[in-house]
Amino acid sequence: MSGARRAWMAVERFATASLVGRLAALAVTIAVLVVLDRALSRLLNPYVFRILMLCGINIVLAVSLNLINGFTGQFSIGHAGFMAIGGYAAAAMTTYWGPAALKAFAAVGLAGGIGTSMLFVLALLFGGLLAAAAGLLVGIPSLRLRGDYLAIVTLGFGEIIRVVILNLDFLGGARGFPGIPRYTNFFWVAFSGVVVVLVVRNLVSSAYGLAFRMVRDDETAAAAMGVDTTRFKVMAFVIGAFFAGIAGALFGHYLIYLHTNSFTFMKSFEIVIMVVLGGMGSIIGSVIAAILLTILPELLRSVQQYRMVFYSALLIVLMLTRPQGLFGSGTPFGLGRLWSKRREVRRAA
Amino acid sequence: MPKLVLEDVHVHYGGIKALKGISLEIDAGEIVTLIGANGAGKTTTLRTISGLLRPAAGRITFDGADLTRLKPHEIVAQGISHAPEGRIVFANLTVRENLELGAYRRRDRDGIRRDLERVFTLFPRLKERYSQNAGTLSGGEQQMLAVGRALMSSPRLLLLDEPSLGLAPILVRDIFQTIREINAQGMTVLLVEQNAHMALQIAARGYVLETGQVIHSGAAKELASDERVKKAYLGE
């Protein structure tokens, strides 16, 4: 374990040491992911592959929400709203401007795969940025509200976003938005997953980004340490929303059809459940919970109509037996807390 | 025969050991005081007696009955009443309702009326404010209400947590005078006070707590003249 850890740290040091190292790391990551992309999409059963993709998208959602809920201690249950904005914005971009953009790219020699990749990157960023703008808007109430109140406001924002989209004709309204090009592949999902995990980790582990966790633990004390709590709360919302937007864009370009029914508050709940089940403030927890909760309903298909009953019952049982989530809180990366409760119990006895 | 007995009581809050083996005894009819700095475990001791906290180890008995596993409302039924720190009167209820709640477990209407009269004799101010919301009372009046309310359950042991907290000096004297009166009527009192001077003046015996342990105990007079106690808690 420690050997692997040391090796990883060495790799990381190399990767961050210089621009060359960084580019090398990037190149290796891309190469690995491209190979995986080719291999997995061929080797895996398309159904299994689809679940894998959904896991990836859910990871992006859960980890980004964890920044808001877990690390910064804000309480948002409107993540599906940000996801919707990102999804629709990106879809509108590739659908309406895509052909023109591709032509323009081709004109400067960026034809084929490179052109579409460029377009998709732009669409992802566009979706992310619009969602981030909405995050800014939603983040502002967080300055005045906390806890349940903030939760219900974010939920309300999510619903309002849905109603607005429903009324926008160029986004298809109630009929949905069909005909989105299928740009999402394993590479983009995995890449986004890697990026969101790295970004959140880099943020919360640095002395500067410690501020997120300080705000969560004790806002007054954080301010007394010189943390601009306003800024960090809003920042958490903006960054969280940005990645939710990206997840939405990936989702839309995978399903190649968008409908507001995919972004109800039940979707938001699902993401919150992933974060809480994984453990607030645990990145690895969010990742594992996202995978678990994506696969679980699929496994439960064998019990047919009992499936959602099982799912909800299991959720309750899990919360009752492990209320702090699978990975507790506090350590963003460690697995150490997995069994902490049992140890504590033993010590107390 | 001693009324309340704590034997080697340990209490943990989360990971912190708040009480590390407190043992004390209170005899019927006496005032006993717990003194010590903030965080020494005085309030924790009271909260453990009244069942708000559960000891990790040790035993609490009252007139021979084991209290250790009882819930707060069951302990009230045993005859122990606790006026908590910070008063905590029900601000959204009237003075009358606050006092009635004090007698929540009782069914003897006549007895309740008698006790109400007794409280009004002790605190005439409360009678004047009978139908006001408790939240509109001044700090001193709220303290009176808290003590009066605690008396309404007709307890055999009264736990008082910092009754002088935040009160003007003149009111502090009044409160202590009242405690003395209540005691003179036969009530056993366990008093937690930061104002060690006053506490040791009215108490028969005292325990000095420090970081969750009893470090001194004895007659109040002796403690008041103890050099270490003087230095640490009496500002001399």
Binding site: Y47, R175, Y257, H259, K341 | -
Partner: protein, 381 residues
């Protein structure tokens, strides 16, 4: 000790389920697997359930008659909970996990639109019983439907309103979250205005609403000749009653979404004399219809609604094509479905046109007491 037991229990339950799920049944003659997905739970489950019942009956018929070239057909049904992304996932599962050779799709166009690209991509033909959005079959050459499409029905209702009812002003009450309703409303409006009528007001509601008094009060103030409600019976029944309570004078007009035995039960006489278009009439003396309705009542204790009939027809069109197809390869079945011509369905004679939509007659029904009476029959355009 206290915390461990429930966890173990959950774990045990989990593995048990997983084990059950992995079991496979094996028969001597391999069955032909056909997939079906629909909303068996969720807010539109009633339609999914009806469809499934209709399909079940068709499968029963087929297997009783010896199946397809001696092989029985097994339907594998998945619930999409009314979510588009779930529809896509279950379609993928049915194709790749269960190996279905063809698919019967969703009622709601939004779910069909989400799942259609997967069927198209995998080369598995899909027939949707009731998705009326024209975009559904535009997804690709493997996607078919056995119902008419929104523009046709919207136009028919508008013409009926203008010509037969003699309406000059109309109000529309749309279910905004329902693609079907929004689509019909816009085609109705287009045609009605084209004919020279005016739209007095457009109001809306949302699927699942139960109180429509606000909208109806607003409509009442405009005094339109007719009120067109392109919605599902679940809401229409309530709307009818509340309209009557409020003393609305406009004649109510509807579409195939109204068709359900429960409509009149909910409406409590409030829809008396009003009209809606449909695929068929329950009281049609045609023996095929009579037989279907009788059997359905016997099996499920109620009169079939439009979705049940369409499910039955969709399955039969598919099975007919499978029988005709030279093999059970996707492309073969696709070609066979595309060649469907004058297929005698319960909802009329079905011909699949070059847009892969069904061409078939439409009826206008009028509510008269406890029964629905055919007042007009419109042949395919």
């Amino acid at each position: 000790m206290r915390s461990r037991f429930p966890r173990l229990l959950a774990l045990a339950a989990f593995w048990l389920l997983a084990a059950v799920g992995c079991q496979k049944t094996q028969d001597a003659v391999p069955v032909i697997k056909v997939g079906e997905f629909g909303s068996l739970t969720g807010s539109t489950a009633t339609f999914g359930i009806s469809t499934q019942r209709g399909i079940d009956m068709a499968v029963e018929d087929l297997n009783a008659a010896g199946g397809i070239r001696g092989r029985k057909v097994q339907m594998i049904v998945e619930d999409d909970q009314g979510k588009p992304e779930e529809a896509a996932t279950v379609a993928q599962k049915l194709i790749n996990q269960n190996g279905v050779v063809a698919m019967l799709g969703e009622v709601a166009s939004s779910r069909s639109l989400a799942a259609a690209p997967i069927c198209q991509g995998a080369g598995i033909p899909m027939i949707t019983p009731a998705s009326t959005n024209p975009k559904v079959t535009e997804v690709g050459d493997y996607i078919f439907r056995v119902c008419f499409i929104d523009p046709d029905q919207g136009r028919v209702v508008a013409q009926f309103a203008f010509n037969t009812v003699g309406a000059r002003t109309a109000a529309i009450l749309t279910d905004v979250k329902n693609d079907y309703s929004v689509g019909l409303a816009s085609f109705f409006e287009e045609r009605f205005v084209q004919l020279g009528g005016t739209i007095a007001t457009k109001e809306s509601y949302t699927e699942g609403d139960i109180d429509f008094k606000a909208q109806l009060t607003a409509i009442r103030a405009k005094k339109p000749d007719v009120l067109f409600i392109p919605g599902y019976y679940t809401e229409v029944g309530l709307i009818g009653r509340q309209a009557q309570e409020l003393g609305l004078t406009a004649k109510l007009l509807g579409c195939d979404g109204w068709d359900s035995p429960k409509l009149l039960e909910i409406a409590q006489g409030s829809l008396e004399g009003f009209y809606f278009t449909n695929h068929y009439s329950v009281s049609d003396p045609n023996p095929a219809v009579r037989q279907f309705v009788e059997r359905y009542r016997e099996l499920y204790g109620e009169t079939p609604d439009a979705m049940a009939v369409l499910g039955y027809d969709a399955a039969n069109v598919l099975f007919d094509a499978m029988k005709r197809a030279p093999s059970l390869q996707g492309a073969a079945i696709r070609d066979a479905i595309a060649q469907t011509k004058d297929f005698p369905g319960v909802t009329g004679t079905i011909t699949i046109n070059e847009r892969r939509d069904a061409e078939k007659p439409m009826v206008v029904l009028q509510v008269r007491g406890d029964s629905l009476v055919v007042v007009e029959k419109i042949a395919p355009a």
